[in-house]
Symmetry: C2
Subunit: 463 residues, 2 copies
Amino acid sequence: MIELPREARVVNLGLWVFADAVAAQGAAVVHVDARPPAHGDPVMVRALTDLYSAGLEAANAEVLRRLDREVSYVVDVSPAKEVIPGIGDRMILHPGPPIAWDEVCDPLRRSSRAAVVAEGWADDPAMAERLLASGGVTLSAANEHGTVVPMATALGPSMPVWVVDNPAGGTRAFAPLGQGSGDVAWLGRESAAAVERLVFLRAVAGPMLKRIVARMGPIDTFAIAAQGVQMGDDVHMRVQASTNLLLRSMLPAIAALGGDGEAVAFSEYLSANHLFFLTLAMASAKALTLSAERVPGSSIVTTMARNGTTYGVKLAGDDRWFVADSPPVEAALFYAGYGPRDAAPDIGDSAVLELVGLGGSATAGSPAVAAFLGGSMAEAARATGEMRRICGAESTRFKLPTMDFRGTPLGVDVRKVVETAITPRVNTGILHVSDGAGQVGAGVATAPLEAFRAALLALTEVR
Amino acid sequence: MIELPREARVVNLGLWVFADAVAAQGAAVVHVDARPPAHGDPVMVRALTDLYSAGLEAANAEVLRRLDREVSYVVDVSPAKEVIPGIGDRMILHPGPPIAWDEVCDPLRRSSRAAVVAEGWADDPAMAERLLASGGVTLSAANEHGTVVPMATALGPSMPVWVVDNPAGGTRAFAPLGQGSGDVAWLGRESAAAVERLVFLRAVAGPMLKRIVARMGPIDTFAIAAQGVQMGDDVHMRVQASTNLLLRSMLPAIAALGGDGEAVAFSEYLSANHLFFLTLAMASAKALTLSAERVPGSSIVTTMARNGTTYGVKLAGDDRWFVADSPPVEAALFYAGYGPRDAAPDIGDSAVLELVGLGGSATAGSPAVAAFLGGSMAEAARATGEMRRICGAESTRFKLPTMDFRGTPLGVDVRKVVETAITPRVNTGILHVSDGAGQVGAGVATAPLEAFRAALLALTEVR
């Protein structure tokens, strides 16, 4: 006869139901959350097995090094048509994967019409709609032009853009100037005021920022962002500290503009715009991913962008988009009077920040973003912890004080995404789905797993 | 015969040595750090016993309410002689308790001479020394004039000051403009450049800031500081976030100054001065303590200031200074080539910030200050924890993200200081003791217990 022990101590692997049953009998139980990789899908498990190789690890190491160590500098502000390669005369650049006009979501339609009016191609949104529908104005994905645009931005060729160089990588990226908050086109508005803001950026802010950058010389944006992370920025949803650091450094150049009415209007635009740094950070991240994506045979994600209809992912060394439906924004706080039914699907190229150790990766250090995740810093730490499970490295430039200065997770590895079924969490705003109200909230968008699974399978084929 | 238990579990109270002896024998021991109050001093224990009364609690509650809830606004920038009550024609205001010229420490001597030269009363520091030594220029404690000055600042009557009103308390306080970093008088320098900076503040920065404040209207400084605390400021040693928030809000008013050479020089001064907010915060704190100190019969400290020779404390409702020797600055990081022997004793009125929930009280949220306490955020949390043991309340406006948005400790209670023998920890800079090198480091100064013990005894006499 076997004598049973008087005290049972149980370690339970996998299914919670067994652990619960043991605990219900008053015994000690430790539960280990062990799940089969890729939900046990045999095709994915086979693909994952194929993809752990020395060659791929070497490619990944180089991709991660470029994302972490290369440095981006703002070197100029110029009209898009003068600097962005391949932008056509009557072309609008949009966020996310390529898309046809009849599939474009409501906020981006409105923003596109506002852009067409601001370009002077149409007198009003109705006329702009006809031009866009007829192909008289063409659409092109900004990412195909080394450009990233936030939220529902539609970028016309006359609009000023940040020009950002990554000298080590030999790459150049672009992003529009921030339009600010409120009644503005990038948030899905097509009002006269929204058009007026675009004209102001072209006529006033662009030329003035060009003079400011010329006076200051190259600006190392991620050196500023690294300080911003110490000051509670995730450098995506929250860029307040980085914006203010940049503006203080710009002060002498702003004063040198002269104190006329235009300079005051320009200063008012800066003063009211706590998101000003966002598009500089995006272009800086893009200048790094453009370099990283030249490395073939890697499993690190180098493009992640949404057009409000589809969500697209690209891997380093592979020019193809892997696309799924754009998801709703979750864990959301809505403005008073709005709720989930008012929310357009996730939109914008700003998710490029989550690829370089910012945004969702830096949430643990951001009290302001924590407010969108239930309010506690523990929730914020969990968000960064999830990103750590799917990233290939830790940033050596972005350090989290709340994690004793550990680097933010950096470089989303499609293998880890598929294996854990955890996709990147992107901190973002929410636009109204249909009525042109503009921004109605903010929250966290979880990228669709299907796009990553497709990318993983394609990677096994390439090899 | 008594049977001994086979397993001993020990709770040890008081002396560590017994706990150590138990632990050395391999037994479990919990040590409780129980010490007799006030080191068991019978006079102090008696005084403490006398001071727990309903009347005193009511007085304290009112003092704490004023420190926590009243609001300070910057309303003007004007020359000291036009606004500060009682400032004489040939008078220099200095930090800390009243002091005679022959007892003044080296950095404050140098700063005073620079101030005398900047006022135009002497051609050079040697002539200034003779004037000061002869009584041709008199010294007066800034705190006696509703004014607070940082580090070794010597404030002459022509210098511009922030004018800060606390409308609810009906009080008004003053502090000089920040001089910036480097070769500047407030850090104990008397060079031509240090004098030149004083002249610049009088001739350029003061008048321009006067125009800026007039254009902006009253500025709620602690609303800014509250955001700064969310962004890693302790709002004493570190005011970077608060400075930048303020400057962004000032941008349109700065642009409106006009873009001439003086405006550019002024913008360069602001752009280089990450400590700019410090003296606004100090004057704002002083406007609160001036209101709080009108409440009689309280055990809450309302003045805490050092002149580099002595360290003075005052209680609400009591006009007397309780003074001890100024201590060395501890837990210090020195600039390369400097060490403890180069350090002047603790100096400046900035400790007023530690009375309103800032500085040492807010250290837990400041990665930059943590760097001076061994580098970890846990050390920073301990610093705030010590302040919590000696404070009467928690701030409702300054919240620490790293402590799940708990308020900073506020209102130093002299009873708790004497009972625990824990004195306030003040985050501060370190000046060279003798050679005029200026700032040589930064660290934490622990206030001398004797001053608090004297204040406590006096409080029992008053009652």
